[in-house]
Amino acid sequence: MSEVEAAAEAETIGWRSRLADSDLFYAFTHSPVAIGSAVVTAVILLAALFAPFVAPHDPFDLASIDLMNSLLPPAWMDGGSWAFPLGTDDQGRDVFSTILYGARISLLVGFLSVILAMVIGVVVGLVSGYAGGLVDSILMRVADVQLSFPAILIALLIDGVLRGIVPRDDYDQIAVYVLVLAIGSSFWVQYARTVRSSVMIERTKEYVQAGQVIGLPTTTILFRHIMPNVLGPVLVIATIQLALAIITEATLSFLGVGVPPTSPSLGTLIRIGNDYLFSGEWWITIFPGVALVVLVLAINLLGDWLRDALNPKLR
């Protein structure tokens, strides 16, 4: 074994034992709610990620769809078949498979928009907290104004504007990214505020002063030295906002301004199914709805637990 490998191994062991020793890990193994919701989240995440292998049918392969199979009820009801465990929709697509593929898009939009919001928010927070003065007051005023408008309204507006600028045919292609942009840029404020207040405390500490004295560039001080110390609360916000982002995406798609029906997310599926609610085909809309709620609830529980675990004051 070469020295490099040995060093790498020592590092992984160090990483593992540090994890096993940490309070967070201990709290996790002693909270049934946390374990349960983590498992549920992981299962949905994996099922969505490997949808092409897990799903019994490929709902977007036109060759495998048969209109004869349309509007079949779930397997345990009269007329249902185990080939389509949760029934089929109006085009004969397997509801279970569309949910897996739909969760994929919901999660993709959720993760990407949280990352976008986090990057904007953390950078704004760092700059605002470190610079202070005029820069700080301008950035925080913008944050105040944006915070007083609900995120969903801002997301709707951004979506509407881009819909006007981009030609209709191209729009469906970029709909996912528009959603990410719309949700991401309406969620950054919370990160910015949290990071800013932590930075204002960190700024006066000795390690920052030491960095300033030896003449490190401001960006190095900000991103290499201050940032790692203020990321704890960011993680909590990110978890809770992931749930919010998924809900927002579903809501926009439900309202018909999200992703197009050709690559439906959970929200789009609920919208499509909603038309069949009155004629009694409830499963087309209810099962994607249940999937959405279970996913969001699991993430919310995880976020709640994380917040309490990282904040000993609340215990």
Binding site: L156, G160, L277, F278
Partner: protein, 322 residues
């Protein structure tokens, strides 16, 4: 006091000007306004004449000022889609949204505040834990899904309540109200509950957190040490102090009720402004979008201003500092 209000007022005007700038840019730069007014067979020369006549060649700030001048008078031009003046379209739709929001706001407050206070006072009680679990589920349930579930249960399966529209309305001047007819009231039930649930869960959590914070303060401890009755401490001292920050929250809530009304109106085909706005977005109907944006911003600014002034009236500490 006067200086404080003036400062806030100036801030509000600044916010409105920025929003107007956004709305104006929508008008001006999203699509060509001329294209949406004339047909295919209009010659380039005619287009240029129209452009000149409408003042679209004027400097940016002249156009912006003109836009604000019109906006102050409520004039936002014609809807691209419906070919009607935008201000009268919004005026027609406003009563529906207002009544829906009002009823759900009252519902959310009347149920949410006592629940929040109760869970804060009996932190470890079974009922409190039940409430908190319920509120977590409530936060995880998207508004539109609550609406769909209600429709499925009470509209499709039980057939007790109408599933869309406002029912019969009574005209009082330009205002239309659904409060005075049986079908109007019945139609209101499900949309109002749908809209109220999310707000309610938020209110419960916020009141609980705020109240727990207040119960930890020294003056509450002191009151306890003096041997005041638990009732007096909880309701005369703690609750009173909880309600100050809660005012801000309620102000913000009214805003988010308007936003979530868009969703509720869409689920129940409620003929309000939100439904109009969604249809405007789908069809890129810029005048309606711009006008709705301005109106919402205006409502927000007025609410925030009122809350700030109320703060001043309620909290004596603020008055002393200045």
């Amino acid at each position: 006091m006067l200086l404080f209000i003036l400062k806030r007022l100036a801030q509000s005007v600044a916010v409105m000007l920025v929003v107007a700038l956004i709305a104006f840019s929508l008008f001006r730069y999203v699509g060509d306004p001329i294209d949406s007014m004339v047909g295919q067979d209009t010659t380039l020369q005619q287009r240029e004449q129209l452009r000149e006549r409408l003042g679209l060649n004027d400097p940016f700030f002249v156009q912006y000022a003109r836009f604000i001048g019109h906006a102050v008078q409520g004039d936002f031009g014609l809807s691209y889609r419906l070919r009607q003046p935008v201000d009268s379209l919004l005026a027609q739709r406003f009563p529906a949204t207002f009544e829906l929001s009002l009823v759900s706001a009252i519902m959310a407050l009347v149920i949410g505040v006592p629940m929040g206070v109760y869970t804060a006072l009996n932190r470890r009680g079974i009922l409190s834990r039940g409430f908190m679990t319920l509120s977590l589920i409530g936060i995880s349930l998207p508004t539109f899904l609550i609406g769909i579930l209600l429709i499925l249960l009470f509209g499709v399966i039980l057939r007790w309540l109408p599933t869309f529209g406002r029912g019969d309305v009574v005209h009082i001047g330009w205002w239309t109200t659904g409060f005075l007819t049986a079908s109007g009231l019945k139609s209101l039930i499900m949309p109002a509950i749908t809209l109220a649930i999310f707000q309610m869960t938020l209110i419960v959590r916020l009141i609980r957190a705020e109240m727990l914070e207040v119960l930890r303060t020294d003056y509450v401890k002191f009151a306890r040490a003096r041997g005041l009755k638990a009732r007096t401490i909880n309701f005369r001292i703690a609750l009173k102090n909880t309600l100050v920050p809660v005012m801000t929250i309620i102000g913000l809530q009214i805003g988010s009720i308007i936003a979530f009304a868009i969703i509720t109106e869409s689920v129940f085909q409620w003929p309000g402004m939100g439904l109009l706005f969604i249809q405007a977005i789908e069809n890129v109907d810029i005048p309606v979008m711009a006008a709705y944006l301005m109106l919402i911003a205006f409502i927000f600014v007025v609410i925030n201003l009122t809350v700030d002034i109320l703060y001043f009236v309620v909290d004596p500490r603020l008055r002393v500092q200045r």
